[in-house]
Amino acid sequence: MAATLELDDIQGLVARGYGGLRAATFVLLRIGDPAAARAWLGALAGEVATGEREERSEAVHVALTHPGLVHLGLPEGSVAGFPDEFTGGMTTDHRRRILGDVGESAPERWHWGGPANPVDAVLLLYAEDHAELERLADRHAGPAALQAAGLAEVQRLATSPLDGTEPFGFRDGISQPLIAELGPTDRPGPPLHTVRAGEFVLGYQNQYGQVAESPTVVAAQDPGRVLPRSGDPERADLGRNGSYLVLRQLAQNVEGFRRFVDQASRVDGQADPDAGARLAAKIVGRWPNGAPLTRAPDHPADDLADANDFGYADGDAAGHGCPLGAHIRRTNPRDALDPESGPEQSLRSSNRHRLLRRGRAYGDPSDPGERGIHFICLNANIARQFEFVQHTWLNNPKFAGLYEETDPLVATRQGDTGRTFTVQARPLRQRVTGLPAFVTVKGGAYFFLPGRRALRFLAELPGAPDQNPSRREP
């Protein structure tokens, strides 16, 4: 096993999703006064939860966008190694195409993160219940606290109390990758879901056996040696123990989804609730209780509600249980990615595109307002992980040999593409047509979730007047 993780430096969100901290809010911020913001960040560096295992009654995390780093005073030219995804941001023309952020989901229409409402930082606050969260939020992001920190609030993303169910009514978050280095050293985790820390944390070996590219600054920028030195003695390692955090606000049309499933499963105009529930499960790939269709093709078996130790290659290669284009099969094709190469090679390939999901649902079922998910994922390589999953698997009409369908549940739709969904069956497939989009993107940005030392380094920046975006040097 490679180096042990420096858990006292890594922000704890990497290690855990805080299932016990049911209340959370994400505060999107803009830096007004860089000097005050640096002081704020320095104080926060001592407060952010780290990855060390301990019982917590609250947790605070902070992450910054590329413009945020520049506004803080990270000087142009001294940084190298931030990938173009991060420096260019989520809203370039090319990224709109691959992420599907067009039409109703175009960044111009976003509540935050679009051209009109950019963000510099996000503060993620977690507590045991609503009252505790209020107190925490007041302390860290109340009007007085923000003013003292030289910050302006762009948007506050409230979340519903965590109950493991997303707004469409399905249990969520069942399948997560396990970080090999976090498990017991004598007992490796299941190969299906165990991946190396370098897939999520910079500075460690990834699934290719390589250490991912990490942003560095010229060593002279760090006279106090707050940061570790990278391989090159002239450079200080800003990225070590950091991760890239993808945040997207995905509004879910719950009513529209129910209506569509009801209409599409009618026989001679008669509603058939069983067929409707079945179609919804086929779209997702699991029953609402979590049971995967591959293992529980006919009914939502309770004893399979947590099942995650399954592949598709053996027994469901044709998609008769879980359809080839179902949501969970697209988000992780497991051992069936490439039937010709076989299950082992497929699994190896699939596991180079895993995401640590940390999102939370928002909106109230009893209230007609917007509902959805504040999708959060962590990865070390945005292009190879988040963007790849989004483009090559979710939004790809050619996924698994299909023709014109995209993810039936979460993909945005454009023109005729994505309007059909095929439920493979013997002898004849059932093709569902006329799919609307059930999800609309309402905001999004790529953040860097620095390690604690990197936060301290940023807090101690001298604050150059230079406000130009930093570019990496070739």
Binding site: H94, N396, R426, P427, L428
Partner: protein, 428 residues
Amino acid sequence: MPHQVALTIRAPIKPGQAGALKRLLAQMADPAGGRAIPFERMETTHFARLFVLDEVDGGPDGGPPIPASLVYMSDVDAPVWRHLATLVGVGGARLDDVFAHCEGWPSASASNWARVAWLRARRVRADIVYVNTVGRSVAQVHGERRLRQAIEEFLDGKQAEWRGGDPVQIHAAVRRFVAGRPDLRWALEPARGPGLAFRVRSTLHKVGGPLLVLLAAPLLLALLPVWAVLLRRHERRDVPDKPILPNPERLRELADLEDHVVQNPFTAVGVAKPGRFRFLTMLAVMRAVNYATRHIFNRGSLTRVRTIHFARWVAIDDRRRLIFASSYDGSLESYMDEFIDKVAWGLNAVFSNGVGYPRTRWLVLDGANDERAFKAFLRNRQLPTQVWYSAYDDLSAVNVENNAAIRAGLAGAEAPTRGEAEAWLARL
């Protein structure tokens, strides 16, 4: 059915005109710009592209300078002369606009035959050609796409009624449906393969290659240890590039042209390592790889990579440089991942003769397995494919293959077995 030809035409650009030509190509790439060459009217053209190779002063390897040149590439159904005649005829004044930037392009008053002759005289032979499926013409791809769509729509109307039905009877009903459609009836006949002349030539090549190798075997075996020692010595002295991607402006210039449809073009140019040893090694490797793509990987799968429609390697400038060009499905990121997973050894064998490639061992080991270095190597050599055309940009190579299999399953007078009918219906 005709076989497919990888046509490459390269012509030096008049001094000082490369910039203007690039701007023109950018305008042509915009379908609304009204300056595009109407490739869709050239019915035997699968893919086509135009790009500019910038001038190299002093030569990348210390050799003489290389002027800027325009490259036209197309993957076409044989015969090539028909493609060229159509290109000149359909391209008309728009083609003149492009090639007038090159030295010696015939004047406006010259005949079309003069233009064809000019183009033919500038043809460059490809060293390695990969065709996803040899013998499948543009007309066949288009016809089989219509066939599948018609069958799918037919089945949409029957799917409730036929749920749990007998697959053999459903197959028969689809067959009757196709037979009843005058515009689809052709599909009941199996697709014909390439012509006799092509097959004879191909067989001679298939047999002749190994024969030659066999004849030379004693000599080759004797040389092998020497070659191996030299190879390792060269590999240890190689200087791989640092794994750093191009600057953001360049990355965005490339990305702007990518992911507009489900297919993408990839074009790159690299510099061959100097010296006789690398020269001969590359020549031998390219011969061997070309033999393999021609005779082994000619049925939809390049060592399990199923996402490439066409690809080619073309050595230029007395083999000082090498162009790699392909048309593939999906994003560049997924394309490169597939390369690493499935054909790292093959890419190593060819590309490791190029300057800056990630370090290899024994020609085929390591190299592309260094993910970061490999992706940076390709991105740093990638060129913007300014004009690119696909005759079926809504179909993946797997789709094309599946459409052909749907059609193949209709041919023959005998009813399929239950198993065969089930397997056929699973394609829909």
